[in-house]
C-alpha cells in the first residue's frame, strides 16, 4: 500500500510544482463560465428557467474534473516518453497498485481544480443551496474523477505516443462534455439526445453535483451513485488490466 501512497504523492508534487499547468487548466472552464453564464443568462431567464449561473456552475465544475482526470490518465504516455514509466514498470509492485496510486493522485488534483472553479464562481454570484451538502458534492466529485482517470489510463495504455491525442480530445472529451447536460437541462430533450445523455457517465456526475449544490437532480442521488460507482469500478478494472499489459 505504501507504493500507492508514494505514487499519489508524486502526482501531487508534480502538479503543485507546475504553476503554468494550474493556471492553464483553469482558463477554459472560467471562459465557459463567464461567456456562457453571462451570455446565455438573459435568454435562460426569459424562458422562465431562473438563474443560468446557478445552473451552469455544477456543469463547469464537472467539466474541470473531466478534463483534469482524463489528462492525468493520459499522462502515462508522457511518462513513457520521458522514460519514468520504465522505472515504475521494473519495480516489484503490482500493476494494479501503480494504477490505483496514479488514479487517486489524479482524482485529488481534479477535485482540487473543481474546488478552485467553485470558489471563483462564488464571486460570479453562485449561491449554494445548503452548505451541509458539501460532503456529498465531494463524494460525487471523487467518483466522477476516478471514473475518468481510469478511462484515460485505459486509453493511454493502448496508445504508443501523442499522435492519437487530438483524436481523443475531439471525439471523446469534448462530446462527453457537451452531451452531458452540463450546459442545458436534460428535461424535454429530443429523443436521440435523451439516449445519448443517458449513456454518458458525466451526465450523472453533473446531475449529482447539481443535486448537492443547488438542490435539483434529474436522475436522483441513488441512480447517480449507482451508475458512477459501477461504471467507475468496471473502468478501473479495465484500465488496470490494459495497463498491466503495457510493454516498453
Amino acid at each position: 500500500m505504501s507504493a500507492v501512497y508514494i505514487l499519489w504523492l508524486r502526482q501531487l508534487k508534480r502538479y503543485f510544482r507546475s504553476k503554468s499547468r494550474i493556471v492553464g487548466a483553469l482558463g477554459q472552464p472560467l471562459l465557459f463560465l463567464f461567456a456562457l453564464g453571462f451570455g446565455f443568462g438573459p435568454i435562460y431567464q426569459q424562458a422562465g428557467q431562473g438563474d443560468y449561473i446557478q445552473f451552469l456552475v455544477p456543469g463547469i465544475m464537472a467539466m474541470t474534473i473531466l478534463f483534469t482526470s482524463m489528462f492525468t490518465g493520459i499522462e502515462i504516455i508522457w511518462d513513457r516518453q520521458f522514460g519514468f514509466l520504465k522505472e515504475t514498470l521494473v519495480a516489484p509492485v503490482s500493476r494494479y497498485h501503480i494504477m490505483l496510486g496514479r488514479s487517486l493522485g489524479g482524482a485529488t488534483i481534479a477535485i482540487f481544480q473543481g474546488l478552485v472553479v467553485f470558489s471563483i464562481s462564488l464571486f460570479a454570484g453562485f449561491k449554494v443551496e445548503n452548505w451541509l451538502m458539501a460532503p456529498v458534492a465531494i463524494v460525487f466529485m471523487f467518483l466522477t474523477a476516478m471514473l475518468f482517470t481510469a478511462l484515460g489510463t485505459a486509453i493511454a495504455s493502448l496508445l504508443e505516443d501523442m499522435q492519437g491525442f487530438q483524436l481523443i480530445m475531439n471525439f471523446l472529451i469534448m462530446p462527453t462534455f457537451f452531451l452531458s447536460g452540463a450546459l442545458f437541462p436534460l428535461d424535454g430533450l429530443p429523443g436521440v439526445l435523451t439516449y445519448i445523455t443517458m449513456f454518458n457517465p458525466l451526465s450523472y456526475g453533473v446531475d449529482a453535483l447539481r443535486g448537492a449544490l443547488i438542490g435539483a437532480t434529474h436522475f436522483g442521488f441513488l441512480v447517480d451513485f449507482a451508475v458512477l460507482g459501477i461504471s467507475g469500478t468496471i473502468l478501473l478494472f479495465i484500465g488496470g488490466y490494459l495497463f498491466s499489459k503495457v510493454q516498453v
Binding site: A3, R10, Q81, G83, L89, V90, P92, D161, Q247
Partner: protein, 275 residues
C-alpha cells in the same frame, strides 16, 4: 546436480531466446551465461538486439520463445522475484525531472520496500557514493547529463540488487564522467560482488572493465569469450578490431519509432520554450 551447480554458478542463463516483431527477429536464438560476480559486456552495432535482450531479462518485454533464468527465476513468469533481484540504468533517461534527486531516490526506496528504518541512511550512502549528496535538494531538470547518469546508478543500486544492468551508461558523457562511472562500477563489482551486465559502443571501455564479452549482430551472437580470447582468435591488437572482424564495416540504420519522433519533437519544443 549439486556438482554441476558448483561448477558453473551462473546468475543469468539464457537459452534460445527469440523476440520477433511481426516478421522481424530482433533477437534470434540467443544463448549465453553470465557467472555470479562477473562483469559481462554485451556488444553490438546499433539495432543488433542489445536493448531488446535487456528488456526481456528485466521483465519489460515478453519473449517470443526461449528460456531465461535470472538468479533462479524466470523473468517471463516469476516477474516479482526477478524484479527484486536486479537494478537497472536505462539507455535513455528514466528520472522524474520535476522531482528532486532525493525525492527520486525516496520514491525508489518506497516502491522497492526498503524498510523505513534504513531508508534514509541508505539514500544518503548512495548519494554520497555518486557525489550528489550536496545537490540532493535540486530538481533533476537542472542536472547535467552526467549528474543524471550518476543519480540513476545510485538509484539502481539503492535496493542492493544482485545484478546491475547498464544499457550504455556512458552514452554522451565526457571522459571525466565516463572514467568516474567506470571506477564506481569496478569498485562495486569488486567490493559488493555485484554482477554487472552492460552494453557499450566504446570497445576500449569494454576491454578495460569486462571479464567476459559477447558480440551480437542482427539478433544473433557471433562471438563470446574473454576480451583476450576474442583478440587472439581474430589476431587483433584491440577489441575494436576484433569487433569489426566479427560484425563487418557496414553502417547500420536504426528505424526511428513513433516514440523517437515524439521525443525529438518534445526536445525541440522545450528548447524553444527555454526549458
Amino acid at each position: 546436480m549439486n556438482e554441476a551447480y558448483s561448477k558453473n554458478d551462473n546468475i543469468i542463463q539464457v537459452r534460445n531466446l527469440t523476440k520477433k516483431f511481426k516478421d522481424f527477429a530482433a533477437v534470434d536464438d540467443v544463448s549465453f551465461d553470465v557467472q555470479r560476480g562477473e562483469i559481462f559486456a554485451f556488444l553490438g552495432p546499433n539495432g543488433a538486439g542489445k536493448t531488446t535482450t535487456i528488456k526481456m531479462l528485466t521483465t519489460l518485454l515478453n519473449p517470443t520463445s526461449g528460456e531465461m533464468l535470472l538468479d533462479g527465476f524466470d523473468p517471463a513468469r516469476e516477474q516479482h522475484d526477478v524484479r527484486r533481484s536486479f537494478g537497472i540504468v536505462f539507455q535513455d533517461a528514466s528520472l522524474d525531472d520535476e522531482l528532486t534527486a532525493y525525492e527520486n531516490m525516496y520514491f525508489h526506496a518506497v516502491i522497492y520496500k526498503i524498510p523505513k528504518a534504513t531508508r534514509k541512511a541508505r539514500i544518503e550512502e548512495m548519494l554520497k557514493f555518486v557525489q550528489l549528496w550536496e545537490r540532493r535538494g535540486d530538481q533533476v531538470k537542472f542536472f547535467s547529463g552526467g549528474m543524471k547518469r550518476r543519480l540513476e546508478i545510485a538509484r539502481g543500486l539503492l535496493h542492493l540488487p544482485k545484478i546491475l544492468f547498464l544499457d550504455e551508461p556512458t552514452l554522451g558523457l565526457d571522459p571525466q564522467t565516463r572514467n568516474l562511472i567506470w571506477e564506481h562500477i569496478k569498485d562495486l563489482n569488486k567490493h559488493e560482488r555485484i554482477t554487472v551486465f552492460l552494453t557499450t559502443h566504446i570497445m576500449e571501455e569494454a576491454d578495460r572493465v569486462a571479464d567476459k564479452v559477447a558480440i551480437i549482430d542482427h539478433g544473433r551472437i557471433v562471438a563470446q569469450g574473454t576480451p583476450r580470447e576474442l583478440k587472439d582468435r581474430t589476431g587483433s591488437a584491440t577489441l575494436e578490431e576484433a569487433f569489426l572482424v566479427y560484425t563487418g564495416k557496414t553502417i547500420r540504420e536504426e528505424e526511428a519509432t513513433g516514440l523517437d519522433n515524439m521525443r525529438m519533437a518534445s526536445k525541440m519544443w522545450t528548447r524553444r520554450a527555454g526549458r
